[in-house]
């Protein structure tokens, strides 16, 4: 059953862009001051409408399948391996949905690997309750390649976070396929910051952080990112990002890990609860 769910999610994620992002692109096409930027945004909206209507992958880069599981601690799994069920679902959905095999088995390229390597990265959180929540994302690598992580120190503080976000977006420029979603992860250890940034980039863009100071920081960062001039597809303009989402976690008294994960305008995610 999990296998079938995953197969369905990967196809739907690749054919249908989330409502919040599509609406933000429609709004941006009105708000954008640059003419070439507006035209670009209008084309993106059209691409998403056609992909949904004709059931086509919105982008040829169907990305790496990222599966975030929130597993209730009272859940008892029966029959077989959880990981195999997810891998099987990804394989089935990739084939049935005419999605591209975008994953290589050996990142060093020292092995000769055929196509069809199992394309899934799985993160699991244990939570109270008896439900399983799945957040599925197809993460394209144009934006993933432009993401960054840096270990700051406490004295660097919020100004360092701000500068690092702006610098990462500026260096990414057109390569990350703007307008982008900016996910910022602050705290924990090296890997926590990266995972928080991934969770941030996958949070719906119309949901702000519940902490008022972080909500304000998200707004300030979005405004400053949109003053960089990059614009849609880096052709110049005001709409460089659709949202800046921040997630935080406690960290060591000696540290301030900051990760910035970028999502392209086609940030494909879908959630369901089993």
């Amino acid at each position: 059953m999990l296998r079938d769910t995953i197969a369905r999610l990967i196809i739907e994620a690749n054919y249908i862009i989330p409502d919040d992002i599509l609406q933000a692109l429609r709004d941006a096409a009105i708000r954008e001051e640059s003419e070439i930027g507006r035209r670009t945004l209008e084309q993106l909206v059209r691409n998403y409408e056609i992909a949904a209507a004709e059931r086509l992958p919105v982008c040829q880069d169907s990305g790496v399948a990222v599966v975030m599981l929130e597993v209730g601690q009272d859940v008892h799994w029966i029959g077989g391996s959880l990981q195999e069920a997810i891998f099987d679902g990804v394989r089935e959905g990739t084939k049935a949905g005419y999605l591209r095999w975008s994953v290589t088995g050996d990142p060093t390229r020292m092995l000769k690997t055929a196509g069809g390597d199992t394309p899934a990265v799985i993160h699991t959180d244990l939570v109270p309750g008896a439900d399983v929540k799945i957040t599925f994302a197809s993460k394209g690598f144009g934006a993933e390649n432009m993401s960054a992580l840096k270990m700051f120190v406490p004295a660097d503080g919020v100004p360092a976070i701000t500068d690092f976000v702006l610098d990462t977006v500026d260096r990414a420029g057109a390569n990350a396929c703007p307008p982008i979603v900016v996910g910022v992860g602050v705290g924990g250890t090296f890997e926590t910051a990266a995972l928080l940034a991934k969770k941030a980039v996958l949070r719906p863009i119309n949901v702000r952080h519940p902490r008022p100071d972080l909500c304000r920081l998200e707004g300030e960062l979005l405004e400053r990112v949109n003053e960089l001039g990059i614009g849609p597809q880096g052709l110049g303009g005001r709409v460089t990002a659709l949202a800046v989402n921040i997630e935080v976690y406690s960290t060591h008294i000696a540290g301030l890990p900051v990760a910035v994960n970028l999502g392209c305008h086609s940030t494909r995610r879908i959630s369901t609860t089993l």
Partner: protein
């Protein structure tokens, strides 16, 4: 080459693109391309370059050709090609000097090229066109034929000959060495924002 309206130019090429056509393009021009182009990606570019540097034959002539950075999705039964938008050109930039020397005259891709990557274009008076990244479903409709002409073991990275028709691109680097990404970012960064509307959330 003709201008069909105020803003979009048409560029048709049959047996390769001419210098005269490329010289007329200016950074920032919107152009619709019609003709045959050759696909390339990370693995394709590396293999082509290795063959050229070793003096070995390559599957297809690159003389006066345009390369398109793309690795398409598999086609559905009713399709010529699956989703087929551009991929990031910068990843293949290190191979471009060799490919230009073999006759390539222009590249379609997405993303930015600066410094040495851009200088390779300037040296060879080549043109860099950007297509819109993430426009895969729509751009597939501007492809009339897709034939694998080599390296089919590379799967989505195989060498395709693609017949494109009114394929929309923007000139990023022109033969005079102007870079539209750099020019427009600088312009919009210094231009005061319209005061009527601040960034909404």
């Amino acid at each position: 080459m003709t201008r069909s309206d105020m803003s979009v130019m048409q560029l048709t090429f049959n047996d390769g693109v001419t210098d005269a056509d490329l010289d007329r393009l200016r950074a920032g021009d919107s152009v619709e391309l019609t003709g045959r182009v050759i696909s390339f990606r990370d693995a394709t570019a590396a293999r082509l370059t290795r063959a050229l540097e070793a003096g070995s034959p390559v599957p297809v002539s690159l003389h006066d050709q345009i390369l398109y950075a793309v690795g398409p999705s598999p086609p559905k039964p009713s399709q010529i090609i699956g989703s087929a938008g551009p991929t990031t050109t910068a990843r293949m930039a290190r191979f471009l000097p060799t490919l230009f020397a073999a006759g390539v005259r222009a590249v379609i891709g997405k993303g930015e090229l600066h410094g040495d990557d851009m200088n390779a274009f300037v040296t060879h008076r080549a043109v860099y066109f950007a297509a819109i990244g993430g426009l895969g479903a729509l751009l597939a409709k501007q492809i009339r034929a897709a034939d694998i002409v080599g390296y089919d073991d590379l799967g989505p990275e195989a060498l395709y000959s693609l017949e494109i028709d009114a394929f929309p691109v923007v000139v990023i680097i022109d033969t005079e060495g102007r870079n539209f990404h750099e020019l427009s970012r600088a312009r919009w960064r210094s231009l005061p924002r319209r005061r009527t509307e601040r960034e909404g959330r």
